[in-house]
């Protein structure tokens, strides 16, 4: 922390006014259960649609302090795994009206591998933009005959954490063309729209000023490849759209709701900015 602050100060003197991007240089290899290791890509060349904006994309992991980064190196230390475990219990339990369980149709959660890496995506049948939560909700309401889970409630986020974990280490690769294009354009428009009394857009912090400090917070590129993430501040799991709520609220605006068309489109656009980074399953951030 101190070192980073000093680095900033030194750079500021050297390049006054220049945009600074100073994520740490570090590599993330996660020690999973049973001695397996997973290499995580935390920096990658920017996808083509960002060519005018930035050269390299960085996971938010590289913007956090040493202690926070270390928590993610070992699954045992990662508090998010508690929620993944809980998601697994939920996956295997017969919670449906007719005694259905997730495992009944889908077998093990590993059948969900790859889903997190390509969502949000447009469903070929319905033409709707689907996040992982939308898929969970479809199963819960249509196949299990239950009421929708609260979008940011425990059940939804436990399941989201479990499903996201199955794609850990895979490269984010959301489609932005074809049927997804109109959603992506809408998301892009939202990203660059200034909201709230402070009149800030997503780009104000995460594009124009990433790498700098906003008070004590080190501004990242706002990548969501690590989501859902265990947030130390909340001592709980946070979904990407929940984070959007926090960001928009901080601009002193009335926020959109999780699962609103706006946030779904924004999630697609922000996810596409991370095409090439690894899904981190359940990351740890502060």
């Amino acid at each position: 922390m101190h070192r980073t602050a000093k680095t900033i100060a030194a750079f500021s003197l050297a390049f006054a006014g220049a945009a600074l991007a100073d994520p740490v240089e570090d590599t993330l290899v996660i020690e999973g259960g049973d001695g397996e290791t997973i290499e995580i890509v935390t920096s990658a060349p920017a996808p083509a649609h960002l060519a005018d904006v930035m050269d390299t994309i960085y996971s938010g992991w590289l913007y956090r302090e040493d202690e926070t980064r270390d928590l993610q190196r070992d699954d045992f230390d990662n508090p998010g795994m508690l929620y993944v475990d809980r998601g697994l219990d939920l996956w295997n339990s017969a919670i449906g009206k007719g005694g259905e369980s997730c495992a009944g149709c889908h077998q093990g959660p590993e059948t969900m591998a790859g889903l997190r890496a390509v969502t949000p995506r447009v469903d070929a049948k319905t033409g709707a933009l689907m996040t992982v939560e939308n898929y969970i909700d479809a199963c819960v309401t249509q196949r299990m005959g239950l009421e929708s889970w609260n979008w940011t409630g425990n059940e939804m986020k436990d399941m989201l954490a479990l499903i996201s974990m199955q794609s850990r280490g895979m490269a984010v690769n959301v489609a932005i063309d074809g049927a997804a294009a109109p959603f992506w354009e809408k998301g892009k428009e939202l990203y660059y729209t200034r909201f709230g009394q402070l009149e800030m857009s997503c780009a104000s912090c995460h594009e124009d000023n990433q790498g700098k400090f906003i008070r004590a917070d080190h501004l990242s590129q706002g990548q969501i490849n690590g989501f859902p993430t265990y947030r130390l501040k909340d001592a709980g799991i946070l979904s990407a759209q929940q984070r959007f709520v926090g960001c928009v609220r901080d601009t002193r605006a009335e926020t959109f709701k999780p699962n609103s068309d706006e946030f779904k489109a924004l999630e697609l656009f922000v996810a596409s900015r991370g095409n090439g980074l690894s899904v981190e399953g359940v990351a740890v951030r502060h």
């Binding site: 045992f76 230390d77 475990d85 809980r86």
Partner: protein, 109 residues
């Protein structure tokens, strides 16, 4: 917060005789401090893990008294010298009288 209490421990599968190994123990627990007020304005009663112990083959390795300032999901990491194969026994004591236990074997070799 994770409401259900679930202990997790990480112990190496084997060690050389006399080796010092690192042990990690985590339990999901709200650790309600007893200082907070609920939405009805009344104090939420204290409910924390107040003691944690680890024994190796019946010999105590660590015995921790825990107070309300310890945060949710308490995590302990400590070293233990392993002279012979056996079982690590972990015990967490809850304010409500519940006792949570976990056992992990370790081999010499």
């Amino acid at each position: 917060m994770v409401e259900e209490v679930k202990p997790r421990v990480k112990v190496p599968k084997s060690a050389a005789a006399g080796e010092i190994v690192t042990i990690k123990a985590l339990i999901s627990h709200t650790m309600e401090s007893g200082q907070r007020k609920g939405s009805d304005g009344n104090l939420i009663p204290r409910k924390i893990i107040n003691r944690f112990t680890c024994d190796l083959n019946g010999v105590n390795v660590i015995d921790v008294a825990i107070d309300p300032a310890v945060s949710t999901n308490p995590y302990f990491e400590f070293d233990a010298k392993v002279d012979a194969a056996g079982d690590f026994k972990f015990t967490w004591y809850d304010d409500d009288g519940s006792i949570y236990e976990d056992v992990k074997p370790i081999n010499i070799g």
